[in-house]
Symmetry: C2
Subunit: 198 residues, 2 copies
DNA sequence: GACGAATGGATAGCGGCACTCTCCGCTATC
DNA sequence: GATAGCGGAGAGTGCCGCTATCCATTCGTC
């Protein structure tokens, strides 16, 4: 309960409707918002500052949907503070070029490409200089997943909370995918072992 | 530099070879280890305690490879402190059953299934009670990715550092996949838009 | 209408964690 | 022989996510 007071102070939750100077009323929407905050923090690993940033965008009523999606995407895709290896940056560039528009992406230097470059830099730094070769199969698998994601968003109806659905789908989706990847490792390696010594 | 002294104290880095009581020599292996620690922390988001745990297993010389892989997997797959929704647990159970051995997985209650249940619980709590329906396409995509992962490990040669390669591949891979997923979203949504109004 | 419990609001404090600072004794170097 | 720098150990710092305390008010109920 003191945590809720804290979130209120931090502006993560809207204040309740004051029925009297020391009595506020909270409805389902407040509860829902609280659960959203907890989900973003616990599963998505967002900091309070980032959650506030995201919620601000979610709550913005004017502004185009497209612009809001972009802003939120950037907010929830913050790269770590890894110094970028120029070679890794080149790898990212090559990858982006390879899958460039019209059917690909041509995103210049967003947080997403930064993330990717940071991860590949880290890989290089520990002696895995060819990790970028895995990017193409990764994209192949991720295209299937991305299609499922878009389907999911679309079927939820293009209501007012598309942005919210996207945030949830992205962050909780990341966590789910982490787990599913590990399960897939077990499944595939079992199949390989079965085929091999068979 | 004081950070390195700190890591030494915390047992994340092995002490250098003392050439004299106050002069230690550090070779490439030490540097490599340092970079590994930084990568696990900055990209993998591991805490110092978890890094130590992982490194302990990596450094263990005896013990079977299989057992070490399992231990490390558990260490780098720690779920958040989310209370589990029984319905979400049921969803996970159903998913596991659906893809059960011999070609699937039958992992009982490991950290991985915990992670999955936690994520689905969070989804439910924010009103996404049907998120588990996305699990099958997720697995389909992840199987492609998992195959690439195993290929990668295999082609790196079954040297002494398989566990290390697995840790790196898993954690840095997670970060890479996060980024690639976002790029795939952009790519696929562009394709859909192109097909739709076409 | 009196009284204890509870609420809203604000301020200060706590605990964990990843560092960082400082001091000490020593020794390689000039 | 002065001094700069190292290794080692303990205490201190800053941030962040809470948590505890305090006060005035007011709701419940008797």
């Amino acid at each position: 309960m003191p945590t809720i007071k804290y979130y209120l102070r931090e502006g993560l939750l809207p204040a309740g409707v004051l029925t009297s100077p020391n009595q506020a009323h909270y409805d389902d929407e407040h509860l829902r918002r609280l659960r959203l905050v907890r989900a973003l923090m616990e599963v998505g690993g967002l900091s309070i500052a980032t959650v506030r940033e995201v919620l601000t965008v979610v709550d913005t009523r004017d502004e185009s949907l497209h612009h809001k999606l972009g802003t939120v995407q950037e907010a929830i895709s913050q790269p770590g503070s890894v110094e970028l290896d120029p070679l890794a940056v080149k790898d990212v560039q090559a990858f982006c070029d390879r899958h460039a528009a019209p059917d690909g992406f041509d995103i210049g230097s967003s947080n997403v490409t930064q993330m990717l470059a940071a991860a590949l830099s880290a890989a290089r730094s520990v002696g895995h200089a060819h990790f970028q070769e895995i990017l193409d199969p990764y994209l192949e698998g991720m295209r299937i997943i991305a299609k499922a994601d878009l389907d999911y968003i679309a079927h939820r109806g293009a209501r007012d909370d598309v942005i919210e659905a996207m945030v949830i789908g992205t962050l909780i989706g990341d966590a789910v995918l982490k787990a599913v990847r590990r399960l897939a490792h077990a499944q595939v390696s079992r199949e390989v072992l079965a085929d091999g010594p068979g």
